[in-house]
């Protein structure tokens, strides 16, 4: 990130002071502690955007309200392909966030993919679908490549073709008015190769596996949220685990900096 010209600091306080839009990108159990730490520095101009899975708007507002009467909080759920500007992002606005604040975030996130506003209670489902979704796709691609290799293709080519097939199919669906079922039919000539293959997928319960996966991810997100609400994990334990991990990965950095990087300098 530094190579890209992003400003870097080891002080969370500095990050807050020099930002207008603040992305909280720490692990969910750490959120309360970060909020405690930076709470005093939150000003009316700040828009606090939490990307932490399972952390509710109300829990953030509650923590910040001891420092700031009307904190602007937006909760968002995105996914890893934002890195190639094909992310899938949803956001829900908090009590004191204005329409313009939501629109600002939407503008920012739309530059790295698809972004839309939702009701907060749908965010867990979004996690199950598009949050975890890339992992399902990677698993599928790995297996498709295996299939290609089994039938004689070199691995690199198999991976490339598999990825392109999914990319192309997704693009067709997004650009078409047609139902995916219809698009599937369009590929299946009578008695041909594709319909034979699809029969195998159906026999293996392909569809139900995917439904199960989305459901499991969504349910687990809710569980984690419950656990967090109950604060079962001891704060000291969390801090220690994180510190140890940080020391292992980047011995040169100090503790606090591992948590946050400011993506923006002050609005001009």
């Amino acid at each position: 990130l530094q190579k890209m010209g992003v400003n870097f600091t080891v002080s969370n306080k500095d990050t807050v002071k020099s930002s207008d839009v603040l992305f909280l990108a720490v692990k969910p159990p750490i959120i309360p502690f970060i909020l405690e730490e930076v709470g005093p520095d939150i000003e009316p101009r700040h828009i606090v955007v939490s990307c932490a899975a399972g952390v509710t708007i109300s829990s953030i507002e509650k923590k910040l309200s001891t420092f700031c009467p009307t904190p602007k909080v937006i909760r968002c759920m995105t996914n890893t392909p934002v890195v190639v500007r094909e992310g899938a992002t949803v956001y829900a606005t908090g009590t004191h966030a204005d329409v313009e604040d939501g629109k600002l975030l939407e503008q920012l996130m739309a530059s790295v993919g698809f972004c839309t506003e939702v009701e907060e209670d749908l965010i867990d489902a979004v996690t199950g679908l598009s949050g975890s979704g890339p992992a399902y796709a990677f698993t599928a691609l790995d297996a498709l490549a295996d299939g290609g290799v089994k039938m004689g293709l070199p691995r690199r080519l198999a991976v490339r073709l598999g990825a392109q097939a999914l990319l192309g199919a997704a693009k067709m669906l997004l650009e078409s008015e047609q139902h995916p079922g219809q698009l599937k039919d369009n590929v299946c000539s009578p008695g041909g190769a594709t319909i034979h293959a699809l029969h195998f997928l159906e026999s293996g319960g392909f569809r139900s596996l995917l439904i199960n996966a989305v459901e499991a991810s969504c349910i687990r997100t809710r569980e984690l949220q419950h656990l967090a609400d109950q604060e079962k994990i001891s704060p000291a334990a969390i801090k220690k685990t994180l510190l140890d991990k940080v020391k292992l990965e980047s011995p040169s950095l100090s503790v606090a900096s591992a948590n946050k990087v400011s993506l923006f300098t002050s609005k001009s």
Binding site: Q178, H179, P180, G181, Q182, D185, H199, E202, S203, G204, G205, R207, S208, I211, N212, E215
Partner: protein
């Protein structure tokens, strides 16, 4: 017109004399459909069978009956062959002398190809092969037919126009007939099975059986009607019923877990393959 010159006016539906060689369930279903639709008067229908067992129902509808297959050929222009497969070769030998260029012979006999039929009948006979399904009885049948080398557009048009009164009737290449068996001939039984299971589910949840059966049937009827009338893809229609987090999507998940789709595909495949195998015997 000139096309009709060879064929006497008897081909006009109103004056058409229709014969059935064999009077079993499928023949009866077709005849009943034609009668209900008012396409052919009962007095114009003649059916033959070796015993009286099957013929009573025909007589009750006002159709004429006989024990003599030859008589059917002599009296009718449109002749449906509806015997059991193993009986057919003998029957064809028997009626062959009475088959003429004015006849239109339509075989309902499962597994007997046009090639075989044409071989056992006089050269140039107008032969067609029809695969109906039982709901022809209530004029909601699904039928496909294929024409032999002696049959032309006139015969195809006649058959289609007559049988459209019994449901959906489409001309197809002969190779689709076995598939139609797997899809729709046998398919009717799959639907009955599904309906029974739906009703049982309802009974388990506390609804009386009779009511559950009627509602199950009406549900299938309604869904089918929507498919036919809107022409929309079933996947789209399915989505239309699924409110987010609602009852339907929960139920569909159960069906997917049970790999219902694959099982149904297996069923169609099994029936089609069996039809193909039987045809070889």
């Amino acid at each position: 017109g000139e096309k009709r010159g060879r064929v006497p006016a008897a081909m006009e539906a109103a004056e058409l004399r229709v014969g059935f060689v064999g009077a079993g369930r499928m023949a009866g279903g077709l005849a009943r459909g034609l009668l209900r639709a008012g396409k052919v008067p009962a007095s114009s229908i003649l059916a033959s069978a070796p015993s009286d067992r099957n013929l009573d129902a025909w007589q009750e509808s006002g159709c004429r009956t006989t024990h003599c297959n030859l008589e059917v050929l002599q009296e009718s222009t449109l002749v449906f062959l509806a015997t059991k497969p193993h009986v057919l070769p003998g029957v064809l030998q028997e009626i062959r002398p009475a088959v003429g260029p004015h006849h239109v012979v339509v075989s309902l006999v499962a597994g007997v190809s046009l090639q075989t039929l044409q071989r056992l009948l006089p050269a140039g006979t107008k032969v067609l092969r029809l695969m109906p399904n039982l709901p022809c009885v209530v004029q909601a049948g699904a039928m496909v037919f294929a024409r032999g080398s002696g049959a032309g557009d006139t015969e195809a048009a006649l058959l289609k126009s007559l049988l459209s009164s019994c449901g959906l009737c489409e001309e197809v290449p002969e190779s689709y007939i076995n598939i139609h068996t797997g899809l729709s001939g046998s398919g009717v039984a799959y639907v009955y099975l599904f309906a029974e299971a739906l009703a049982e589910g309802a009974v388990k949840m506390g609804m009386p059986g009779g009511l559950a059966n009627r509602i199950a049937a009406q549900t299938l009827l309604g869904a089918a009607k929507m498919m036919l009338e809107t022409g929309e893809h079933p996947a789209k229609l399915r989505g239309d019923v699924c409110t987010p987090g609602g009852t339907t999507i929960h139920a569909l998940h159960q069906l997917e877990k049970g790999a219902l789709r694959a099982t149904v595909m297996n069923a169609v495949e099994a029936a089609t393959n069996r039809a193909r195998d039987m045809a070889k015997d």
